[in-house]
């Protein structure tokens, strides 16, 4: 039921919201998160971010994460779009939408989806610094902690 996309192209959040809610009047709230490329990381200027992924596994992992959200909350729709490739500062990286009859479910599912995606979907970020150096972003413990709070 979830709409899952992995693409190099940008996404249009307004259009995705419209698609999720079109013709429906059973939805009470839609939670949304948009992740974007920041121009600094640990105080260093970022020229670009490159997102690599594991194509055969990615959509499957995202579908499993969305299915888990649909199991935990009564969702009326759910969208996950993740971009891959080289992205400039300010660009969109990821979109999560979760619609429900009730706002608490929509907001919690949105937070759950992005937390789990950050620790369970096979994407890797490489930062290009302004001076030309490039380094793979290291996983953050806070992301693991954020995902772990949903295990309880």
């Amino acid at each position: 039921m979830a709409r899952i996309l992995v693409q190099t192209a940008d996404f249009d959040t307004g259009a995705e919201l419209g698609r999720l809610t079109a013709g429906r009047s059973d939805i009470g709230g839609i939670g949304c998160f948009v992740g974007t490329v920041r121009d600094t990381a640990a105080g260093r200027k970022i020229a670009a971010l490159t997102l690599e992924h594991y194509p055969a596994m990615t959509e499957r992992a995202l579908a499993a994460i969305a299915a888990e959200a649909e199991r935990r909350w009564e969702l009326l729709g759910c969208t996950v779009i993740h971009r891959v490739g080289r992205l400039a500062p300010g660009a969109n990286i990821v979109l999560v939408l979760a619609a429900s009859a009730h706002r608490q479910a929509a907001l919690e599912a949105t937070a759950f989806l992005i937390d789990w995606l950050k620790t369970k979907a096979p994407f890797w970020k490489k930062e290009e610094l302004a001076d030309g150096a490039a380094t793979w972003v290291e996983a953050r413990e806070t992301d693991t902690d954020a995902a772990a709070r949903w295990s309880a």
Binding site: A56, M57, L117, K118, K120, E138, A139
Partner: protein, 89 residues
């Protein structure tokens, strides 16, 4: 003793860069029955492979596109992927 297993091995992010390989088909010798044994054997294939697997605590694995651990058993034809902890989102 188990038979030899033809496997497809994939590397992502800095594991790909260190091994210099994105994908390889390998037939490990008999006895390589799980992920841990495969890593031991792969690490001996080249200096790049040794560097990629130098710190196994930071290497993650998927078998047939599902997250796996060192004890996960392997079967002929499996797709085994190695990568760092994920950093998407």
């Amino acid at each position: 003793m188990s038979d030899a297993l033809p496997l497809t091995v994939l590397y992502f992010a800095w594991l790909r860069e260190r091994t210099g390989v994105a994908e390889e088909r390998v037939v490990p010798p008999p006895g390589i029955a799980n992920v841990a044994a495969l890593v031991d054997w792969l690490a001996g294939r080249s200096a790049g492979h040794a560097a990629a697997f130098a710190d196994r605590a930071v290497v993650r694995c998927a078998v047939n596109q599902e997250f796996a651990d060192p004890a996960t058993p392997l079967h002929a034809g499996d797709e085994v992927a190695f990568f760092p902890p994920v950093t998407g989102g």
